[in-house]
């Protein structure tokens, strides 16, 4: 476990040693701040009957930065090291492949969580200024942030897989963006399916981040998405480990 933390610390340090991290953080805050503003404005105008937390997590302005951020958090993790050749130095130290993959994944996930952490302050600010509750109950926060984390886990692992596939960061970013968008739009299918109760609608519910977020931000913690996100994360990480090994063995 010791080596994992050494590697993890290095991943986090390398992320925040690069100016791009702060650029991403800045624009991310601008967009989520705008999203918060838009949510409140909508509620002020009397359109919508939701809480502030629900409004924040269920707008188009939420999904836009959410989906866009993964290529930025994950594109470098493997691609950069293979391109720079530092992977050779890393993998000749006595570390397991799985430790490296997990540490890199955890580093990217950490960055994702850092990006979302300031959003908690929006609700604190709201409550301090207005004296009103931003959420109906604490479950709303727990639900929203736990599904945010779980979706992040899956999408980060997809990004890591894309990065392990290539030496080129831009290519990695494009692959992960395409894969994440594809998964997201698959979830949108449930909205264009005509009747409730149809099998396709049932099936697409399992993939649909939008549906999951609607439930979880109300505080409804459904076990099905939890199982889906955690098991598919493990699957994708497993694939990442194998791609990582395969590419090294072949080269």
């Amino acid at each position: 476990m010791g080596r994992f933390f050494i590697l993890f610390r290095r991943e986090v340090a390398s992320t925040f040693h690069q100016p791009i991290a702060y650029v991403v953080l800045f624009f991310f805050l601008v967009i989520t701040g705008f999203n918060f503003h838009a949510g409140i404005t909508m509620l002020n105008n009397g359109r919508g009957t939701t809480t502030v937390v629900e409004a924040f997590f269920n707008t188009m302005y939420f999904w836009f930065p959410f989906l866009l951020v993964f290529p930025f958090t994950t594109m470098r993790v493997f691609a950069e090291e293979s391109k720079m050749g530092t992977i050779e130095m890393l993998m000749t130290a006595p570390v397991r492949d799985s430790q490296v993959v997990l540490a890199k994944y955890a580093g990217a996930l950490f960055f994702y969580l850092v990006l979302w952490a300031p959003s908690l302050l929006y609700f604190v600010t709201f409550q301090t200024i207005t004296g009103m509750n931003a959420a109906g109950a604490a479950g709303s926060y727990i639900g929203a942030y736990s599904i945010l984390t779980m979706m992040g886990m899956l999408y980060t692992s997809i990004g890591c897989l894309a990065s392990a596939l290539t030496d080129n960061q831009i290519v990695a970013a494009m692959i992960s963006f395409a894969a994440i968008l594809a998964l997201f739009f698959l979830g949108l299918l449930s909205f264009i399916m005509p009747a409730t109760g149809s099998i396709l609608r049932e099936v697409t519910y399992y993939f649909s981040p939008i549906e999951h977020m609607v439930d979880f931000s109300r505080g409804i913690v459904d076990s099905r998405p939890v199982v889906f996100y955690i098991s598919s994360t493990i699957l994708v990480l497993f694939a990442t480990l194998h791609v990582f090994q395969y590419r090294r063995w072949k080269s």
Partner: protein, 312 residues
């Protein structure tokens, strides 16, 4: 320390390393010589546990590099070609990270890092960010990294490539000082380096080991078939050459003129040194002699001979 048996690496249809065998004893400095693309780096990468062999085995300190890779890697300090480093880190920060990753216990970190900083002459740049360092310093950071965990075996892939002559000398002195504590496997295509550093040389070409011996023995092997230079003022060079050819131990004679002097390049029969005979003969004929010498065979010639089958 190192035991390699029938080690083979294929990349598709291309065989980079073809069933090589060798052993390295503790405390040796072994030079790995060969033209570009001969399979030096591939062999080293396999020994360092980075590439798995297609077939065959390699053992480091009794641990198989493939099946017992982690333990084998603990015994190795590997410096890859071109020395890839994390350029966003400071020198001491980088060494600290590498040392702890390689399992140097926390209480020894400070000592080990100051040791290698001193040994590699990096004290002045300790706080600098690696991307700002010159090539020579980076090379030394790579070397410091390779030995920070006190490995038994150092594998250095072209440690002096791309350095200026002064830096090459520094790195070479550094390596020479290391031989007391480490077994060293060093690859290069700079031959004087090998002659100066190595106790044994492995010449590899097209994935096969062509020669494996001490630099002295390798030279001696060719030296037997060497030649003698004889520089004298003779009345008639052609006649003199014909006479010289009749002497014992002389095979062929080439003539080159330098004003009134004639320079004879005399090819000797293997195992013979005809210098004394030639001297006696010159005295007999009272030829004034400017030079009578047997130029030493350099490793460069050995290398050319072995890798190209080139006649000298």
């Amino acid at each position: 320390m190192v035991k390699v048996e029938k080690l083979t690496k294929k990349f598709g249809a291309n065989t980079a390393v073809d069933s090589i065998n060798f052993e390295v004893q503790k405390g040796e400095i072994v030079g790995f010589l060969g033209p570009n693309g001969a399979g030096k780096s591939t062999t080293m990468k396999m020994l360092a546990g980075f590439l798995p062999p297609t077939s065959g085995t390699a053992e480091i300190a009794g641990c198989d590099v493939f099946t017992d890779s982690l333990r084998a890697r603990e015994h190795i300090g590997y410096m890859p070609e071109n020395v890839p480093l994390y350029t966003d880190m400071r020198v001491s920060e980088f060494l600290r990270y590498r040392a702890s990753l390689k399992g140097v216990p926390g209480r020894r970190l400070r000592d080990r890092i100051s040791d290698v900083l001193e040994l590699c002459g990096l004290e002045d740049v300790e706080k600098k960010i690696i991307s700002r360092l010159s090539k020579g310093y980076r090379q030394r950071v790579g070397l410091a990294d390779a030995m920070v965990h006190e490995p038994d075996l150092l594998i250095l892939d072209e440690p002096t490539i791309g350095l200026d002559p002064n830096q090459i000398r520094l790195v070479r002195d550094l390596i020479r000082n290391l031989r007391r504590h480490h077994t060293i496997l060093i690859s290069t295509h700079i031959l004087p380096e090998v002659e100066m550093l190595c106790s044994r040389v492995i010449i590899i070409n097209k994935g096969r080991i062509e020669a494996l011996d001490t630099p002295q023995n390798l030279r001696a092997r060719l030296g037997q078939e060497g030649h003698v230079l004889f520089d004298a003022r003779v009345p008639d060079a052609r006649v003199a050459a014909a006479e010289l050819r009749k002497l014992e131990g002389v095979q062929t004679v080439n003539i080159r003129n330098d004003g009134p002097w004639s320079i004879f390049k005399i090819q000797c029969t293997p195992g013979h040194d005809p210098r004394e005979t030639i001297y006696q003969f010159a005295v007999e004929k009272s030829w004034p002699v400017r030079e009578l010498s047997r130029p030493p065979v350099s490793l460069e010639q050995v290398f050319a001979e072995v890798t190209n089958g080139e006649e000298l």
